[in-house]
């Protein structure tokens, strides 16, 4: 078990190291000079621009040798310094990101957890009989096949524009400042519904289908068969099958995180929900690679932590990992 964890941890550390390196590397070997972009946006007088240009090069530490820049990058990282944003100059990247994070948590955590539970229950339900399977699971297939943004667009269009019952842009009303007040919380909730639903539904479909397939395999497993020969009621057998089918679904959750991040990203774009996903898009469109790096790092860290959490849960629920055996499926 401790071996199991040591191994996992090692992989995570390695991953983090690589991720950070990639993260640092990519922008630097891509065409285009960020400072030029900054100047371009500053519409300065030509005569002054020259001075400012060299000034910025120094300010962003782009005038030192490349290896030096790499070292500085790590060093800064451990001081929680993600650099300065170009797009929102001179705001520090970390500050911008921290402003966005709460909205991601607000949106993603419930969406992921609820869809996972609901989806699994639903899948198990669908696998109950051939009839149910043929009538109910198709819904699952359609949902998981739906592009996040498209579902988002549909929802925004139907409820926001045609029916005009729900707001479909921003995290709260433009007429409000964030305060701890009922009206604000209500507004927050109102704006949260549509993005949440579109995320929830697509994921829900995925989990439902996954569970449906898993449980069918489990019902064919030897232990199910043995219980049958001992005349155990369907109910008991299903319960065991469900529980065992949940395990791969937990790992599935870990594997899905990357995709989920992507989904969140486009959903936030559709509903201009001010989370990290939205930031990433802006960073890309404004070639703010310091911000982009920051966001990416944040996502990485988030995903890694989530993975770790999931591993722990897995160990808690799957005896095989606890008895020194690898729980990987």
């Amino acid at each position: 078990m401790s071996k199991y964890f040591r191994r996992k941890l090692f992989i995570y550390v390695l991953t983090f190291f690589l991720a950070v390196t990639i993260d640092w590397l990519i922008p630097r070997f891509m065409p285009g000079n960020p400072i030029q972009v900054l100047i371009a946006r500053a519409n300065l007088k030509a005569e002054s621009a020259k001075v400012v240009y060299s000034y910025y090069m120094r300010a962003f530490g782009l005038d030192v040798p490349i290896w030096n820049q790499y070292a500085n990058f790590w060093n800064a990282l451990f001081h929680g310094d993600f650099g300065t944003s170009l797009w929102l100059f001179p705001q520090p990247v970390i500050k911008i990101i921290l402003r966005a994070v709460p909205y991601d948590i607000l949106l993603l955590l419930p969406a992921i957890l609820l869809s996972w539970f609901a989806g699994n229950k639903f899948g198990a339900f669908a696998a109950r009989s051939k009839w149910l399977d043929n009538t109910v699971s198709p819904l699952g297939y359609v949902l998981t096949a739906t592009p996040y943004m498209w579902l988002g667009m549909l929802l925004a269009w139907t409820f926001g524009i045609v029916l005009r019952v729900l707001p479909f842009s921003g995290a709260y009303s433009y007429a409000l400042m964030p305060t701890l007040s009922w009206i604000f919380i209500w507004s927050l909730l109102e704006h949260w519904i549509l993005p949440f639903v579109s995320l929830f539904m697509v994921m829900f479909g995925g989990w439902a289908i996954g569970m449906r397939n898993m449980i069918i395999y489990e019902l064919e497993a030897d232990y199910s068969h043995y219980l049958e020969t001992l005349g155990a009621p369907r109910r008991l057998i299903r319960r065991y099958a469900f529980r065992n089918a949940l395990l791969p679904q937990i790992t599935g959750l870990a594997l899905q995180l990357g995709v989920i991040v992507a989904g969140a990203l486009v959903t936030e774009i559709v509903f201009s929900y001010p989370g990290i996903g939205y930031l990433i898009l802006q960073a890309i469109q404004n070639h703010d690679y310091f911000l982009l790096q920051g966001c990416f790092l944040f996502v990485i860290i988030g995903v890694l932590l989530a993975n770790l959490a999931i591993d722990v849960t897995y160990v808690l629920v799957d005896p095989r990992t606890r008895t020194g055996m690898q729980g990987e499926r």
């Binding site: 000079n33 030029q36 030509a46 929102l88 966005a100 433009y174 009206i183």
Partner: protein, 567 residues
């Protein structure tokens, strides 16, 4: 079962947290709609700074609402309106006298004096600022008393100076003096102290809120006061979003180019634009075609002429922009500069859409289709395949270059549209690796000099770092000389300006270093749902610029706010 208990636990936790939070909740309240002006169109991301020296991405209204300039400039009447300055005039060819208005106070109560003005200009010497270059030709500033200044120049560049007079915002010495060069040039300058009609109120990711400064100097000095108590400037999260806000009357003034809105201006919605009909908007800048003269065959003037004849600007205007823009005249000078246009030159040298002429010009110059692929080859027989670029995602420009390409192909020039990302586009132009590109980097101003200074920028070697313009690398000392000569003509000497400009235009239209296409509009969708008294072309209405972009408040947009009335 483990999962259910876990879920329940999560729920309980969440609920308890929320309850705990909302324990001492008050009933919050929104901005009163009838006292609030919602604007949008300047801010493409969360507000990052209030630094009047960071022209690029400072918060909407940093200059104009918060910090103010010595003069306002009204492009429509070509008048300078004394603002923080009471008056200013040239005492001699190299000495400019400035009287600072008395009784102006900073929002912290301190008086604004000549010292602040001198201090502001002097900052250009120590820090890397936009005004730094001013000191190449400004010698020194002499302050006499609290409200009188003399600017002594090594060499007076009248046009440029006039431009500075309404663009340089004055900052309070008692606050900025203690700041180091870095903070001055790149500090965020949170909670700014200015002299203007608005004070910083609040900011979050999607908006920034200004609140009225009720003891603004202009109340007593000019009897003017701004109507909205709050100005909420919304970040443009997406075209889509802005469009929605405008149509639902949530945004009172929007300064985005909103694709597809042209149809809506006519029908139904409580929308108001400066002109009742096409082009709906005033012209803000000229979109022209950059041509890389270093590359064959663009180096050949006949080829450029042929291209100019081939392009059907009218089609772009009607189809792409739904007539929300006007075709540019041959010189590319904005309508506000009409008086500088030498019609005679245009009549003799000007080009306009004429595919037949385009073909003739090509044939005459020896361009013919040798290999029969439908596209002409250069006289030396080499194939011609050109790319025209605009940044990916700039939807209206992308559509425009599709039209231009098909126009060119129609006369046998092989041009293909191409959409690199913005910095790819920027790179290509700065390093002169592009073939053809659309460009519009000169905003409306007090003098055509700024426009010519850009397209005839003379320090070709410095282009990558200075981004001074002339991306086609047009090299003609005579032209360059004329431009700097224009700079030295006093703004009062209209005849003198015209004389120089006419020579420049002759060169421009003979050599055709760029091809002017259309005038981008001062996109301004105004909603009459909550506010009235918007600027418009109609007589009796106020003829101000209804724009919140940087550098426009001080071009009379600020006066618009004094003219509004809540419904």
């Amino acid at each position: 079962m483990w999962s259910r208990t876990r879920l329940v636990l999560c729920m309980l936790l969440a609920v308890s947290v929320i309850l705990g939070l909302t324990g001492g909740l008050v009933l919050g309240q929104a901005f009163p709609r009838n006292e609030t002006l919602y604007t949008g169109g300047k801010q493409w991301g969360p507000v990052s700074n209030w630094n009047p020296f960071m022209a690029g991405n400072q918060a909407m209204g940093t200059i104009g609402l918060c910090y103010e300039t010595l003069f306002l400039y009204d492009p429509l009447t070509d008048q300078f309106i004394p603002w923080l300055a009471e008056s200013g005039k040239w005492l001699s060819s190299t000495v400019y006298e400035l009287k600072v208005r008395q009784g102006v106070k900073w929002s912290d109560g301190q008086p604004l004096t000549a010292a602040d003005v001198k201090f502001t200009f002097d900052l250009g010497k120590t820090a890397a600022l936009n005004i730094t270059s001013l000191w190449d030709w400004l010698d020194n500033i002499v302050q006499v008393g609290d409200y009188y200044l003399e600017f002594h120049f090594k060499q007076a560049l009248y046009q440029e100076w006039a431009n500075n007079l309404y663009n340089i915002a004055i900052v309070p010495q008692h606050i900025w003096a203690s700041r180091n060069a870095t903070t001055v040039s790149t500090g965020a300058n949170e909670n700014p102290i200015g002299s203007g009609p608005y004070l910083f109120f609040a900011v979050d990711q999607v908006k920034m809120v200004w609140v009225r400064n009720d003891n603004w100097w202009a109340k007593t000095a000019l009897g003017k006061s701004v109507a909205p108590k709050y100005i909420v400037d919304l970040v443009n999260t997406s075209n889509e979003n802005s469009l929605g806000l405008v149509l639902q009357g949530q945004e009172d003034l929007n300064n985005n180019y909103l694709p597809g809105i042209s149809t809506l201006l006519l029908g139904g919605y409580a929308l108001h634009t400066y002109f009742p009909g096409a082009p709906y908007h005033l012209a803000a800048n000229t979109a022209w075609l950059d041509i890389n003269l270093q590359k064959k065959p663009m180096g050949d003037v006949n080829f450029r002429k042929a291209l100019a004849y081939a392009i059907n600007v009218a089609d772009i205007v009607s189809r792409d922009y739904g007539n929300m823009v006007q075709a540019a005249n041959a010189t590319g000078l904005l309508p506000t500069w009409d008086k500088y246009v030498d019609q005679a030159v245009i009549n003799s040298l000007g080009t306009s859409y004429d595919p037949v002429k385009a073909k003739q010009t090509l044939t005459a110059a020896g361009y013919k289709d040798v290999n029969g692929d439908g596209f002409v080859e250069a006289p030396d027989g080499s194939k011609i395949a050109l790319k025209i670029i605009v940044p990916n995602g700039w939807s209206d420009w992308m559509a425009a270059i599709q039209i231009i390409s098909s126009n060119a192909q129609a006369v046998g020039i092989n041009v293909q549209p191409n959409y690199p990302d913005f910095n790819g586009y920027l790179d290509a132009r700065l390093n002169g690796t592009f073939d053809l590109a659309i460009d519009n980097q000169q905003q409306i101003s007090n003098t055509p000099w700024s426009y010519y200074h850009f397209i005839f920028y003379d320090k070709l070697a410095d282009i990558p770092s200075t981004q001074g313009g002339n991306y086609g690398r047009y090299n003609n000392p005579t032209a360059f000389a004329l431009v700097s000569q224009l700079d030295k003509v006093p703004t009062s000497d209209l005849a003198g300006m015209k004389a120089v400009i006419s020579q420049i235009q002759t060169i421009q239209l003979t050599d055709l270093p760029i091809i002017p296409l259309w005038y981008n509009g001062m996109w301004a969708q105004m909603s009459t749902a909550y506010w009235t008294g918007w600027p418009s072309s109609a007589d009796g209405d106020a003829h101000y610029l209804p724009v919140t972009w940087n550098g426009y408040w001080n071009m009379t947009s600020i006066l618009m706010l004094c003219n509004l009335t809540a419904k």
